[in-house]
């Protein structure tokens, strides 16, 4: 599973979050499981 630039991934077990700052081919695992891609939250632009 590739990692997409700027996306956040989440561990369902320990709630850790990862932000991908460099795209790559590797997979992200935490607590022995692949981390889940988080759906972006729509945030109002404040600046």
């Amino acid at each position: 599973m590739a990692n997409t630039l700027g996306k956040r991934y989440h561990c369902a077990t320990c709630d850790a979050q990862v932000l991908v700052t460099k795209a790559g081919d590797g997979g992200l695992e935490c607590d022995g499981q692949p981390m889940e891609l988080m759906q972006p939250k729509p945030l109002p632009s404040s600046d």
Partner: protein, 498 residues
């Protein structure tokens, strides 16, 4: 973390998009990265610790900000509109500065500062002196940004923001690359305001083109917004008041592409907001509350909140139009009164903030953050049952009259509803009998007149005699900071002098 990472991500993911300037000729993210790498190389060779920029918003702002970061230098935008001797005094407080100045500022500063470089010449000579592959420190030791506070106090304080503070702010309030290719943000706040720094960082991270407005006038703002098909903007309340008035007077000046209009930097008077909502019905309004010391925005009242509040029958929901919304991700808000109980609408407390974007550090001054990580803001307010934060004003500005605490904002809003009043600032003046009495400095709308007696009666009918201004002085303008914050201390001095 290093701020340079934000630009790296944008250049990797959105390289060909225009980051700054006109749609057809602006700097792309890739070009911005290359110029920033060159700037970093120049700063490194010069042995500088600080990059000071005394200039209006132009390409040197993103290049300076993202060039200082990988060099481990602190970026210090200065108020270039200050008198030369005051500007030179601020520059003299900086650690090993490399000072860039615009043409006019440069000429004025010649006698007062030894080493100065013209911004445009510096930019023109940057070329390709660094490479995008240059490495930068992961954990820079110097702060990322130094901002002098606006000087409502006598001596401006030098507030410091770390790379981690600013990166946390950007990550918690934005989604990477989420802007459409057509989006553009009009940056009208000057670079030395924290909102001017935050605007550059957020826009690069989401991929929204920055359209600079180096010098504000309402006509220029509307004109530039229409010409550049601007979709997003941030303004301070005084700007919004003038923009709404100009657009209302001339429908040809409307801005059809504007989707999001954020405001902050000072308290928004309710009548100004109501007028703006009327004039720009298609825009989503965003109220952003923040401080220099918190890397800008810590609470947001979003477009849906505005719509719900404006149309609700429930007074508690309607009132939210005057709130600053709810905390952004990662920010904790606590508002307690002096005896430690939670503040309410009738009993305000001091707003305290905690979170990764909160700094509170200054040069040569103790941190404003306590052992538990809480920053005391000096702002008074309260939180409603829905978690919406209300800011009543600065603790120092509260008027105590006959034992009662009175917030100037309530009186200002009432006076602003008078058809002749364009702007006003209300302050407390010493009074032997009542402790304080109420004074108002008022700017009238063009072509109309009123007097102190009439305004006293107007306020008395609406708020009662305790809150009506006994002293009213008419002026052609209010004393403000360059970003439109009223200098209440000066208003007080002038009203005291009669």
């Amino acid at each position: 973390m290093n701020l340079a990472l934000l630009l790296d991500m944008a250049a990797d993911g959105l390289g060909d998009r225009v980051a700054f300037g006109a749609r057809d000729s602006g700097l792309t993210y890739e070009r911005l990265r290359s110029l920033s790498a060159s700037a970093a190389a120049v700063l490194g060779r010069a042995g500088s610790a600080t990059l000071a920029l005394a200039d209006a918003t132009g390409p040197a702002v993103p290049v300076g900000l993202f060039g200082a970061a990988p060099a481990g230098c602190t970026y210090a935008p200065l108020n270039y509109r200050l008198p030369p001797e005051r500007l030179a005094a601020l520059a003299a407080r900086l650690d090993h500065p490399f000072v860039l100045a615009g043409r006019d500022t440069l000429a004025a500063l010649r006698g007062s500062l030894a080493e100065l470089t013209a911004t445009d010449a510096w930019l023109g000579e940057l070329g390709d002196q660094g490479t995008a592959e240059d490495t930068y420190p992961e954990d820079p030791t110097r702060p990322a940004v130094l901002l002098f506070t606006s000087g409502s106090t006598a001596e401006p304080k030098a507030a410091l923001l770390d790379h981690d503070n600013l990166c946390s702010y950007v990550f918690n309030t934005n989604e990477f690359g989420s802007a459409g290719e057509d989006e553009a943000v009009l940056v009208a706040v000057p670079p030395f305001h924290v909102a001017g720094v935050a605007a550059i960082l957020s826009a690069c991270y989401v991929g929204r083109r920055i359209v600079p407005l180096p010098s504000f006038s309402p006509e220029d703002w509307l004109d530039t917004a229409r010409r550049e098909a601007v979709t997003h903007a941030f303004v301070v309340p005084t700007m919004l008041a003038r923009i709404a008035a100009a657009a209302e007077a001339d429908p040809d000046l409307r801005v059809p592409h504007l989707r999001s209009l954020a405001y902050g930097g000072a308290r928004m008077p309710a009548p100004v907001l109501e007028r703006a909502l009327r004039v720009f019905p298609e825009a989503g309004f965003v109220n952003a509350y923040g401080l220099t010391e918190t890397s800008s925005t810590v609470a947001v009242l979003g477009p849906d909140d505005h719509r719900q509040a404006a149309t609700s029958e429930d007074p508690a929901v309607r009132r939210r139009l005057s709130s600053v919304g709810r905390p952004v991700g990662g920010i904790e808000v606590e508002v307690v009164t002096e005896d430690g109980s939670p503040a309410t609408a009738d009993r305000h407390g001091e707003i305290r903030l905690r979170g990764p974007q909160v700094s509170g550090a200054y040069v040569d001054q103790p941190s404003q953050v306590d052992g538990g990580g809480w920053l005391r803001t000096g702002d008074l307010g309260w939180v409603d049952e829905g978690g919406y934060l209300y800011v009543a004003g600065r603790a120092d500005d509260v008027i105590i009259r006959g034992g009662e605490n009175i917030s100037p904002s309530e009186i200002e809003d009432a006076l602003l509803r008078h058809p002749a009043v364009a702007q006003t600032a209300v302050v407390g003046l010493p009074d032997e009998e009542w402790g304080e009495r109420i004074g108002a400095m008022v700017v009238l709308r063009p072509g109309v007149s009123t007097n102190g007696e009439e305004l006293f009666r107007w306020a008395k009918e609406r708020l009662g005699s305790l809150k009506a201004p006994e002293v009213v002085v008419l002026r052609s303008e209010l004393p403000t900071t360059p970003t439109g914050k009223v200098l209440r201390r000066q208003v007080r001095t002038e009203l005291n002098a009669g």
